[in-house]
Symmetry: C2
Subunit: 79 residues, 2 copies
């Protein structure tokens, strides 16, 4: 078994209203010095060792990411 | 300026219907060997160097995480 993390973030040129809402709320709550917030998704998968990197990329691309507006990264971590 | 990543994941004992939906969809789409999927959130913040770790933890705890059902980790990354 291996643990895999897939990070999915909105592309740089895409507006991110959730992140902007957080960024706008921070000064109101007394937190200064944060100039930008972007919000994305993080998936943690437990996979068999038989699952190779190509299959993981395919899973991330077809099921976890909307590739029109999001970018993804796949990495294996120690479990 | 520093880049900070905050990962927010559902606690282990909390049901994660979004992750389960992904896990159930995978075999239907022809991907075998994934035994568990959990879905959380990832935030990327651009912060001034004046913002210390205590302030970052406070931001993550009060604004980004529902601490009843979620755990968070904060880490600085190279920008």
């Amino acid at each position: 078994m291996a643990r895999v993390v897939v990070d999915v973030m909105p592309k740089q040129e895409i507006l991110d209203p959730q992140g902007q809402a957080v960024a706008n709320a921070l000064p109101r709550l007394g937190f200064d010095g944060v100039s930008s917030v972007r919000q994305g998704k993080r998936f943690e998968l437990e996979v068999d060792d038989s699952v190779d990197d190509a299959a993981l990329a395919k899973i991330a691309e077809t099921l976890l990411t909307n590739t029109v507006i999001e970018d993804f990264t796949v990495r294996r971590v120690e479990s």
